[in-house]
Symmetry: C2
Subunit: 435 residues, 2 copies
């Protein structure tokens, strides 16, 4: 099947899926978990094939670990599905209601976006998480995973599609009431390029992966894109900071997991506190083998490599940190808004007014006070699973969970009203808020 | 000033504007209304100049009417500003709050989007409405109006900028606390083309105007676009319709104002009711001099011109209507989802189950039951003024009022928490919903 045809199938399915009842969706989710367990041997065999190919092509060991899909991972994704089943159905919620006139009521009702195209990295468990989030939120989905996981993803998508679209014996009807075609797997980068042209049938693209790849997608489609290219996060240590707390937060923000978008790349230090703070934080980072690169003022206090202009806009994703001494909160805010990626930035201070200024004026999806930037994550935020993290300024910002997969429609229920009566002054709007 | 510089100025202003207090914004809005009144002579003189040029270039008379900016229009926009002042400030609302752990609270807080680029048609009053909506919602704005209104817009933008950025005598401080540069006027189409490249500094583009122009904008920028190219709206007259009501709604949907996006272009008629309904509706449309174009089945019942395939996807914006006989609700839904523009579509029926199916499965921003498509409008919805109507599926759908100019940021307030403690199992998330 060509990509255009897959997109059209997904579009048709999405229309029906938008009106499928909660129970039916939850039953289908349970069937998916069941099928994943009962087909685990087949899934693990396919994954072994991917792992062998990856080893042959000398894939780095952290990537091999992400690629692995074993009994443990299957149990994890099934637990995730159980949690998802328990979540409220986000579709069909009345967000507002207004009486426009007697017998003419307007309802703003949540509904699925339609067809979501998701391009994700090598973890096969991501395929299960994303597709089940889409199903629960009533969206059809086109999926393209990492090519290293091609064999695993192929079986996974097949198992999920079959579990939701089984036909009852004899009847020819789908027993689960989930429309065929709601989940479609893309297999090559060329498929993705084709998908980016389908702005008639695909409503939203969510790319995850390398900066270059996300940027490529953003630059090559008219479909709205939700995601982030870079994560250049900052911690600003204010003059009024608790120094021990600041050291702890700086180290966690940088080192707790360096390869992720919410890890901190630049530490900004108020000149008022630099002499006292910098030697302490250096000792802590030295213990973790972090390479420090400092501005001139930093280097007048501690001995570190020099930072260049380029460092301020570099996402290291590694045990490297740039350090800059700034003259107070205003310079810190300016630096972050200029060089940052509007992802997540933290201030450490005991001064409430300074903190509030930072939280208000730093133009990022996450603005944190006295805690680590590593908290920026759908699970930690309590959103359930996330489909990605968005640094765009519309629709959804920060970690995107179920809610980010929804929009609304306006339902207007009348009893024969026409606009001419209002335009000619025969009738008047009441605009009475009902909800 | 070049466009890049204007965009950068607007970006800087938007950061400060996002934190400006409600009272300050309302005072500034009042000052704008005051200035528009006190400078009315100057404004009207500039508008006279535009009108004379437009007459010379033989602008059509409805366009001349839209271009006119006189005492009456000034009073109207000032009344609009008074209403806007009374509206709640949408910025800084806590949308949700969650305790992640003791002393670690997450708040989802509404905030302005940032810098909005708006391209609008010839009405100078639109400039006032859009810029004041942006000010109230804390957004900076780049405005490009119709070239016919160039002289009027120039003075208008100047009056508004000066009213909000006056300096107090002697102090050198801005008396209103509104950051300089929050409103920028673009003057040429070339300016717009430049603006579309500024994806670093402009967060959202809202184009209004002709289909071709909106489509051009959608195809030439990486900035998110909120708007609609076409409005191909439908009325479906179901077999269970009240025929008199259906005639009334069809006529209003088509004729109440033909030149607008929410006017109906195609009437779908259930075959069960076609023989009875079509002659009646034809008589009503004949009385209004509407040209009817029908499918084969339609023409077997009433004498009208033939409709071609192209008619189903044509936005006439004129006294022309296409007619199609369909076999019930399913064919109607399919036709609308296939040929429509996802703007606004109505069903006329006395059958609740059929209506609900229509409202659920028609994939449009507005789905109406027993009322005219012409109700799709921010004012009629009770949203206050609108900046446009969106047929996209993300962020804002249908009429976009103040709310569509907002997004949120996540504020996380801690007391030294680091992620390592949770990753290592020393601490556990509570995820207690506070709001």
């Amino acid at each position: 099947m060509g990509i255009a045809e897959k997109a059209k199938k997904a579009k048709s399915a999405s229309i029906l899926l938008s009106a499928v009842k909660t129970d039916t969706k939850n039953t289908a989710l349970a069937k998916i978990a069941e099928a994943l367990k009962s087909k685990s041997a087949e899934l693990i065999a396919a994954n072994q094939k991917d792992l062998r190919l990856a080893e042959k092509s000398k894939l780095a060991s952290p990537l091999l670990k992400r690629l692995k899909f074993d009994e443990g991972k299957i149990a994890d994704v099934c637990a995730g599905i159980e949690t998802l089943i328990k979540l409220d159905d986000p579709v069909g919620k009345t967000l507002s209601a207004t009486e426009l006139d007697e017998g003419l009521n307007l309802y703003k009702v949540s509904c699925p976006i339609g067809v979501i195209g998701v391009v994700f990295e090598s973890r096969p468990d991501a395929l299960v998480q994303i597709s089940t989030l889409c199903l629960k939120s009533g969206n059809a989905v086109l999926l393209k995973g990492g090519s290293e996981a091609a064999n695993t993803n192929k079986i996974l998508a097949k198992v999920i599609a079959e579990a939701t679209c089984q036909r009852s014996a004899g009847s020819g009807q789908r027993s689960e009431g989930i429309p065929d075609g709601w989940i479609q797997l893309l297999e090559t980068r060329q498929d993705v390029a084709e998908m980016l042209k389908m702005d008639e049938d695909i409503d939203l693209v969510i790319p995850r992966g390398s900066n270059e790849f996300v940027r490529y997608i953003m630059n090559h489609t008219n479909i709205p894109v939700l995601g982030h290219a870079e994560g250049i996060c900052h911690v600003y240590v204010d003059g009024a900071a608790d120094i021990d707390m600041a050291v702890k937060i700086a180290v966690d923000s940088k080192c707790q997991y360096v390869a992720v978008c919410n890890a901190t790349e630049t530490l900004l230090v108020d000149s008022k506190i630099a002499k006292e703070f910098l030697p302490k934080v250096k000792a802590a980072f030295d213990a973790k083998n972090v390479e420090l690169r400092g501005c001139k003022k930093t280097r007048s206090i501690i001995k570190v490599k020099p930072a260049t202009e380029k460092d301020w806009s570099t996402e290291y994703l590694d045990y490297i940190l740039s350090l800059k001494v700034v003259d107070g909160i205003d310079e810190a805010i300016e630096h972050i808004n200029h060089y940052g990626s509007h992802h997540t930035d933290a201030i450490v201070t005991q001064d409430k007014a300074t903190a509030e200024k930072f939280l208000d004026l730093v133009d990022s999806a996450g603005v944190f006070w006295n805690c680590s930037t590593r908290f920026a994550d759908g699970y930690r935020y309590g959103l359930g699973a996330e489909v990605g993290i968005s640094t765009t300024k519309i629709h959804s910002r920060g970690p995107v969970g179920l809610e980010g997969l929804l929009i609304y429609k306006w339902k207007l229920l009348g009893s024969g009203q026409i606009v001419a009566d209002y335009a000619e002054g025969k009738k008047k709007f009441t605009h009475k808020k009902l909800i």
